[in-house]
Amino acid sequence: MATAELEDILERHRRDPLRLLQILIELQARDGWLPPATLSAVATALGLPRARVESTASFYSFLHTHPAGDYRILFSDNITDRMLGNMALMQALCGKLWLEPGKVSEDGLVSVATTSCTGMCDQGPALLANGRTITRLAPERIDEMAHLIRRRVPVGDWPPEWFHVEDNIRRRDVLLDHGLAPGQALAVALDRGATSILGEIERSALRGRGGAGFGSDIKWRSCRDAWGDAHYVICNADEGEPGTFKDRVLLASYFDLVVDGMCIAGMAIGANKGFIYLRGEYRYLLDRLETRLAQRREQGLLGRNILGCGFTFDIEIHLGAGAYICGEESALIESLEGKPGKPRIRPPFPVTNGYRGQPTTVNNVETLALAALIAVRGGEWFRAIGTPASTGTKLLSVSGDVERPGIYEFPFGVTMAEVLDAAGACDTQAVTSAGAAGHCLAADEFGRRIAFEDVATGGSIMVFDASRDMFEVARNFAHFFAHESCGFCTPCRVGTAVNARLMDKLAADHGSPYDLDEMAKMHRLMQGASHCGLGNTATIAIDDIVAKFRPAFERRLHSPEYEPAFDLDAALSQARRMTGRDDPGAHLGDNLEALAEERAHARDAAKPAPSSAAESAPSKDLQP
């Protein structure tokens, strides 16, 4: 990377150490990886210790500190992608490019690997090609892709229809049919003023749509009342929960409402600056969103002196780089500050000590959009929808074994059965109500209602029909959490790894009831001892699945007694290869039982009489 180009990037980012992650993302996009020399140059330019730059560069999945090929293909590997056959397609692509998954091809041309859910479960299987999303993969598309890669055709010149992303909106309600013009809500809010708007939000009893369900008015009020030399509004568009793609649709087709919501939040808490933390998997939206923000600035709907009311509020979009943990608000803020996404010690909470230590409100995309709607329609109107404890509507991203995967907007209180019916699910065996980090409902629970007081959800509804192996679902989740754990605290860092290994042990037919007890032990350990929500929720779905679909696990238990996790015979592979031996003694496979009999026989023969051990003279102890 010529220093001139590096200087250009650093200049554009005003050599601001807080923008370290954004700088690294641009460098990664240009060079395909981040060589050590680049890390050193960036560290010097930003006046940061090189170790700090290395710790950020090595944390995020989409930043590579080792060569990853000119083409970096990442297959989305959520359980819904598996159900749509992504593994076969990946093997096919690897076959055509003569490489193994996870490795770079000999000539450094291409690497193929997996990544966590890319938010395309309604039009999967999907992959990221150098960070750009390609949906609806099929064998022909894979064949042509291999062809394009071998002929070194730039990703930008690949067939445009590959990159097309549908909204798949299936059921609209008050939010998706809001009918407001861009800036309309903002104008109303500016007209009514902060106190009145806060009153509306309070009357609406709006709760966070990211999944935690924290009262938005409480968050905004405590943020406004916190002292600080600057206040910030952050739109959490990380949307990393597997099976969730509602924010994708809001950003793609309702962006103005979201921006209005951010400006309203800014006005309410007295902030002049907002950030949108856009997940790296949605990079394809970046230019479109930046253009729209620029237009709004021209139209006086953003930036200085909005609508002539003297209110200044501007928005910066920061990209994530592949880290599910950055959905946690304090980890998101760490990432916004150019650091690895490791959750902070809480308290203090972001509302008092957030971005740059200043009072910050972090709200989900959907929450901000609803706030704008409430500013116009009023709190009472909103409160009349849904249930008393869960007011308003909820966007549900429904995927998996359904006729019509997509976005369904329902008032809170809708039963799971109604949602499944609307989506055209049949013969449903199970549903995960909050992606990998929530509960798993069996058929007898579909009467339960989607609401914070019953089935709480961030919007990810993944449906599994009777043909699905629920063990594989649990195993996919276990690997997801082991891959996404930030590694900060012992129970989650090592606990998720142990869980993933236990799942692999069962999958390799080495399982026994002992291993199911170990999983339950990990569940108990991580509940309450983990540093953040990831560790505390990493085993909930798994624990549910083991409890409600035990046969799917029992089928996997190879023996009632404890078995080793590793394959005994395979453990002799290197020795066999080096010695060239293949005689029975060189194996530990199915001859184990036979050898045990033989030894038992030898033992009985060796002892003439069942006398006490001392009598038999050792020197005459010759086996026949």
Partner: protein
Amino acid sequence: MNDSFLLDGEDIPFTPGQTVMQAAAAAGKYIPHLCWHPDFAAHGSCKLCTVKIGGRFATSCTVRAAAGQEVENRTDELDAKRRTLLQLLFVEGNHFCPSCEKSGDCALQATAYEMGMLTPHFDHFYPDRPVDASHPDVLLEFNRCILCELCVRASREVDGKNVFALAGRGTRSHLVVNSDSGRLADTDFTASDRAAAVCPVGVILKKRLGFTVPIGARTYDLNPISAMGANAGQQADSRANAAHEKEVG
């Protein structure tokens, strides 16, 4: 009368702003811990200091003490949870105590003794981690790193050098040093840095001090870590004292 809270039924006074751990340590009461150290900002990652306050789990090194709190500390349930956490740490790295010069001065080992850990229980990871002997006076043996970041904090907060940082994510997390080559020799680290005498395990070791103190005379041979009371947080290294006596004596 300033405020106080109950720790296993005992009254512990505290001054406002103190965490439960700080107040307990000041009162000479031992709460198991690995990543906490009285001289540095709390970290809250090892989770050994998990207690129960009013029936809810809490990380005692980060949670503020409050009047009237009822804190459960050395209960069977919590010590069992701590044993499991220790087992996870033991299988994640390579901890070969028999040939380790920090044995007997190692907080991980002493805490495991205190919790009565007899087996690592889980399947070992046996990771492949490097040894960096490049620095003339200090050895870095990453096999024993428990990612407590005491060295990171010491080097940043006291030495002002930022020699250490954690890189990677999840179980790929690992310690890195602040040099282009990645070697300790190419940093401004010296054996007299505060960060050189803070490692609770056997990663950052001053050279030429190995096995100077005979078995039986090392810090935790003499008394268990729980008996170290307030200075339980001090990273014990009888080898340093031995070397000091040698120079002074």
